[in-house]
Symmetry: none
Subunit: 195 residues, 4 copies
DNA sequence: AATGAATGAGGGTTCATTCAT
DNA sequence: CATGAATGAACCCTCATTCAT
C-alpha cells in the first residue's frame, strides 16, 4: 500500500506532487530545484507553474494534502475504537505501520517544521497531530480511564514517545521494524497516562 | 544566564558563532546569508572565511560546540543524582530550565536534523542526546527501579516526552513556562517506565 | 570574411561564443568576467548558464568549435594539393591569410594552452595542429620529396616556423602583413625539409 | 644543475621566487594564490609583501630575473662560437639541454605571454629571445653563410623550430629527451637558412 | 624584518520565475 | 494546457592586500 501519492501514473499534477514529496524528503526542500522535480516527474517547468503558483505553494499544497490524509486515516482507524486503552494501542499501531509502509508520507509529516518559511502554518507535528491525541486524552479522562494530569503533558507523552521512536527509526538508529516494538510502546505509554 | 555563546563581546570567532546561532534558529540555515551573519556579528566576510571553511562548516562547528556543552551539562547535573526517579526528575527539570533560559541553545539542539546536508553526523536528537537517557534507563533497570521493556522504547518515552513538550513550547503552542509542567511531566514519565 | 563566429546577429548561443572569443583573446580568460561576456553579447547571465555549464565549459566548447573549423579548413585547402612542396606553400599561405583575416580565430588556436585548467585536452598547438603537418611530412617522405630526418623535427620546423611568425605578428613585433612574407617563409621551410 | 633559482635554502626572497616559479608553471599564475606560495616557500604573507609590492610585481621580478639569466647564458655559450653553423648547433643544444635540466626555467620563459596583464613587457618569446637569433642571422648573413631572405623569416624559422620542439616536449607529446633530436634539428634548421 | 588576522571587492554560479510560442 | 529559453537577484566563496603587533 502506498498511502500518500500516486507514482509514475496519474495526472500531471499528481506526478509533480509525488516527485516533490520524494525529493523534499530525500534531499530537503532547499536542495531540491524545480528542474529536479521536473526531471523526476517527467513533466515540464511550465506544467509546474501552471499547476502551482510557486515552489512554496507546491510545498504547501503537498503538506495540506498529506495532513488531510493523515487526519482522515486517524479518525477512521483510531476514533472508531471505544476505550482509551484501545485507542492508544490503535494509534501506536497505525503510526508504526504507516512508518514502515510509507516512509515518505511519515517523514514529511514529522519533519516539516511549523516555523519554516516554507510551511506557513503549524504542521501535523504541532496542531493537527495533536487533535487526535487531545481527543484520546480528553475522552479518556472523562471516562475516568486516564489520570488527572495537565492535558499538555499527557498529550506530549503520547505523541512524543511515538514520534521519537519514528524519528529514531527514520534516522536508522532503530533497525528493526517498529511493528516489533508496538506492544512495548503501547504498554509504556498506557502506564504513563492511565489513572 | 546564557548557556550557549558569548554575545557582542568576545573573540571574532565567538561573535560569529553567536550570531549564527541566533540567525539559524530564527530564520533557518538556508534563509540566513553570510552577509547577515557578518552584519549581526559586526565582523567581515573575510573573518567568517578565515575562521570557517564554509557556511556548512560553520554550522557544523556550532553544532559540535553546543552538543559538547549539552553533554557536559547533562553529565554534571543529572548523573550526579542517585536513584533513577531522581534522575528522571532532574533531567526533566534541567531540560525545561534550559529551554526557558536559552531558547536558542535548545532550539539548535532539537531542530538540527541528522540527515541534513549541513549536519553530517547524527545529532543530539538521536545519538548523543540518547546517551544520557540510555544511561538512566540502563542503570535504573539494573537497580530494579525500571520495568523490563525494550530499552529503545523506554528511552523513546523518556526523551520523546521531554522533546515534544519543548517543541510545543518553542512553537508557541504552550505559552506557560515549562517549569510549571515539570512535576506533572516527571510524574507521567516515571509512571510509564517504573517497575 | 569572418572565419570564426557570427557577431551581433545569430542565436543567443552564437552571440555568447562570439563575445567570449573576442574577450578571451583581448583580455585573457581570467580577466574576462561573465558579466563582461553578458554585456558584450547583449544577453544575460542566465542565458550563458543555460547554454554552458560553466565558464570553463564555455571556453572548452569555443575551443572545440574553432579546432574543428580549423581542421576542416586545413583538410579542404591543403590536403587537396598534390606535391609536398605545394602543400607546404599552401599551408603557409592559408595560415598567414587566416591570421590577417581573423586574428581572433588564430589567436585562440595559437594561445589556448594544452595544460591549462581551462582547456583540458591537447590543443591545436600540439595535437590536432600536428595532424596536418604530420600528414604533409609523412606523405612527402613516401614520395621521396622530403628528407629522412626524425618526423617530429620536420613537423616542428614546419609548424614552429609558421606559428612563430604568426606569434610575432599578433604581438605586433611584425607590422607588415604576413602575406608579404609568405613566399620567403615557404622557401625557407622547404629548404629545411626537402630531400 | 639547477639553472634558475635556489630551492629550499637561500634567502627568504629567493625561496619565495623559487616557490613562485614552480607554482606558476605547474598551476598557472591565476591558479596560484599567495597563501600557496607562502606554504610552499615556508615563509609568511608578510614576508612576501615585504619583499614584493604585489603578486604582479613578484611575477614581473621573477620574469626579469629569468630573462637576464637566459640572455647571459645565451651570450656566453652561443656568441662565443665563430661560424653561424656552429652557433645554430650551439643554440639548439643549449636550449634543448636547458629544457631537460630545468623545465621550470624554460617553461616560464616560453609560456609567459607578452600581452598578459601579468607580464607587462614583451617576453623572451618575442623580444629578448629574438636578440640572439637576430644576432646569429645578421652576422651569418654578413659572412655570407646565410641566404638572403627576410630576417624575420629566418629568425622565425630558427627560434620557432626550437620553441615548437620544446613546447611538444613540455606538453609530453615528445617523450624522448630532446638531446637525441639535437643533431637532426640543427641539420634541418641549417638547411633552411644556409645560403 | 616578520607575522597572520582581518578586510571586502569581485568572482562564478544557482535557481525560482516569466512569457512568447 | 504545455513548453523551455531567457532572466537577473542573490547567493557562497576567493584571495590580493593591509596593518597592528
Amino acid at each position: 500500500m502506498n498511502t500518500s501519492l500516486a507514482g509514475q501514473t496519474g495526472t500531471v499534477r499528481d506526478r509533480i506532487l509525488a516527485a516533490a514529496l520524494t525529493l523534499f524528503v530525500d534531499k530537503g526542500f532547499h536542495h531540491t530545484s524545480i528542474p529536479e522535480i521536473v526531471a523526476s516527474s517527467g513533466t515540464s517547468i511550465g506544467a509546474v507553474y501552471h499547476h502551482f503558483a510557486s515552489k512554496d505553494e507546491l510545498a504547501h499544497t503537498l503538506h495540506r494534502q498529506l495532513v488531510d490524509q493523515f487526519v482522515a486515516l486517524s479518525s477512521s482507524e483510531v476514533l472508531a475504537l471505544r476505550t482509551a486503552k484501545e485507542r492508544v494501542a490503535g494509534y501506536v499501531a497505525m503510526m508504526f505501520r504507516l512508518t514502515e509502509e510509507d516512509r515518505y508520507f511519515v517523514s514529511y509529516l514529522i519533519y516539516a517544521r511549523p516555523k519554516s518559511a516554507v510551511i506557513g502554518s503549524l504542521t501535523v507535528c504541532s496542531q493537527e497531530g495533536l487533535e487526535i491525541t487531545r481527543h484520546i486524552i480528553t475522552e479518556g479522562k472523562r471516562a475516568g480511564e486516564i489520570r488527572d494530569l495537565d492535558d499538555r503533558v499527557l498529550c506530549g507523552l503520547l505523541s512524543g514517545t511515538i514520534m521519537r521512536l519514528i524519528d529514531l527509526r527514520l534516522d536508522g538508529v532503530i533497525t528493526d521494524s517498529l511493528m516489533t516494538l508496538a506492544d512495548d510502546t503501547s504498554s509504556a505509554i498506557w502506564a504513563g497516562i492511565a489513572s
